[in-house]
């Protein structure tokens, strides 16, 4: 039972482009997240955060390294096996509006994972309504299309979708950065509530630029700089006593 919820070892991504030198976007990243833990991943724009989580969710093939989810190696999984894994791992995308099919309603999008996991149409509809209420959306949003809602509403729908299948690991790729502070607070409160509700079984990997928010919300922090993890540890410890020059600069810039 002391298996980490997620263990990533030496994850590497090298982008090769024609006529240009290879670009190592993620370089031997290793970390693990315990069950019930909330880890923050911070780093400046372009440091490779999205690339890391795209590899963890297997939407992008890693160049090297391994990804182990609850003791199960998913690095090379494909097809049906991988689809089963997605019932335990979900992600809120960095661009919520574009992560919904423009031709499908939000309700369809939120319920898609339920339908794919054998839930009936009726069950799905009820569950979608419940999820939307949990995420602070009124029921009529289920029949709206992505272009008919605001960014914040779409963000909530994206969170509802990620929670629909009751994942054990939730990855939030800047789930709050496009929102204003008050709504950001609400979403954090929502995530906090979910964490407590679920007997702290839900692990979260929370990507964000904002170290203050990470301090508030996360147990642990990973600092990514130019594709490498330069520092990781308890949030307060890292903030009080940063070892790496980049982390120091990051913290100094806020204080």
């Amino acid at each position: 039972m002391d298996q980490p919820a997620l263990k990533v070892s030496h994850l590497t991504k090298v982008f090769t482009r024609k006529g240009q030198p290879d670009f190592t976007a993620v370089d031997h990243v290793s970390f693990s997240i315990q069950a019930g833990e909330c880890a923050g991943l911070i780093g400046e724009s372009g440091s490779g955060k999205t690339t890391v989580v795209n590899m963890i969710t297997r939407l992008l093939d890693p160049t090297g390294g391994s990804i182990v989810l609850n003791g199960e190696d998913i690095t090379r999984m494909r097809g049906k096996e991988l689809r089963k894994v997605y019932a335990r791992m979900q992600m809120v995308f960095q661009t919520p509006a574009e992560s919904f099919d423009p031709r499908c309603t939000l309700g369809d999008g939120i319920g898609e994972s339920l339908r794919n996991n054998g839930r009936s149409r009726r069950e799905t509809r009820d569950e979608v309504a419940r999820l939307m209420e949990v995420c602070g959306l009124s029921a009529d949003f289920a029949s709206r299309y992505p272009h008919q809602v605001s960014g914040g509403e779409c963000q909530r729908a994206a969170i509802a979708r990620a929670l629909a299948i009751k994942p054990r690991l939730l990855i939030c790729d800047e789930a709050t950065s496009s929102l204003d502070v008050t709504i950001q607070k609400e979403i954090i409160a929502l995530l906090n509530k979910l964490r407590r509700e679920k007997d702290s079984d839900l692990s979260i990997l929370f990507i964000c630029h904002d170290i203050a928010l990470v301090q508030q919300f996360c147990n642990r922090v990973l600092v990514l700089y130019k594709g490498k993890i330069v520092e990781q540890g308890e949030v307060d410890a890292v903030i009080r006593n940063p070892q790496d020059p980049y982390t120091r600069r990051l913290i100094d810039s806020i204080l």
Binding site: N54, Y86, E98, S99, D101, S113, H147, I165
Partner: protein, 283 residues
């Protein structure tokens, strides 16, 4: 005060809608006519009446009669089945098959994509109608073979559109989200990719109906399509060529029928393109 720009935009949108309804109804009438053509003919289109051969248009025979005294109006109406129906069948088939090939290639990428695109290049390298004539010639005449020949020359266009649209959609975040929701390839293709790429493809096929009708009539005219006694328009025109000076109505009436139907379908295609263009549609 209303701004003038807002008003012009409104007016434009309205005409698109009206035009769509208008041409849609006209096209529908044509299609219904072709379905029920047997019941719409004033005379039996195959009934010969040699006494009355080559009669010019009159009240009893609006389009005149041909060299065997058959009523031209009835023959034109009956010909709509072969002409319009085969055209729609042709366009439908080529849309479905071309789109399937394009989506397949675009989705799989890599080698399958390269092979498919090279094959379509090969088909595109020949001048279209000449190639169709060659294919129809090799297969032998007949409406069915003419359809196959025209499919052979027109599928690459659909495959290319479908492929490039698929490539765009493939990178969209919502497809990643769909994968993360546990949707399999089939569901992703049918529920997410197709609805998002079908717009431009449908517009192309609507615009193609007119062209295809012409080409099908052209092949028939050259004797590579419909065979007598089928009253297909193109083959009728060809058949009556020699009568052009003595009884022009025999050639002209199917010609006018082709002209009108091609025009209606082209205008409908244009209108649908305007309608599908998001810039002219204020959603």
């Amino acid at each position: 005060m209303r701004e003038p720009t807002v008003r012009t935009q409104k007016i434009k949108k309205d005409t698109t809608r009206t035009r769509l309804i208008f041409f849609g109804i006209l096209a529908l009438i044509l299609i219904i006519c072709s379905v029920f053509c047997e019941y719409l003919t004033p005379y039996d289109p195959y009934l010969q009446d040699l006494k009355n051969a080559k009669a010019p248009p009159s009240l009893s025979h609006l389009f005149g009669t041909d060299r065997y005294g058959r009523d031209m109006l009835s023959r034109v109406i009956v010909g709509s089945k072969a002409s319009i129906f085969s055209t729609l069948l042709l366009v439908g088939l080529v849309t479905v098959l071309g789109t399937m090939a394009g989506v397949f290639g675009g989705w799989h990428g890599k080698r399958i994509d390269t092979v498919l695109m090279r094959i379509s290049d090969m088909f595109l390298a020949f001048p279209g109608l000449v190639f169709a004539m060659a294919v129809a010639g090799v297969l032998g005449g007949g409406l069915q073979n003419a359809i196959i020949a025209l499919m052979a020359i027109s599928w690459p266009k659909y495959a290319r559109i479908a492929r490039s649209e698929t490539l765009v959609q493939k990178e969209a975040p919502y497809l990643k989200a769909a994968r993360l929701s546990g949707s399999g390839t089939l569901k992703i293709v049918f529920k997410h990719i197709l609805p998002n790429i079908i717009g431009p493809i449908l517009v192309t096929s609507m615009l193609d109906i007119g062209t295809m009708m012409m080409e099908l009539a052209g092949l028939s005219f050259l004797g590579l399509g419909a065979k007598p006694p089928t009253a297909e328009w193109g083959s009728r025109m060809s058949d009556a060529r020699s009568l052009l000076s003595s009884a022009p109505w025999v050639t002209l009436s199917p010609g006018v029928a082709i002209f009108i139907s091609v025009m209606i379908f082209n205008l409908l295609g244009d209108t649908i393109r305007d309608y599908a263009d998001p810039k002219s549609r204020g959603r």
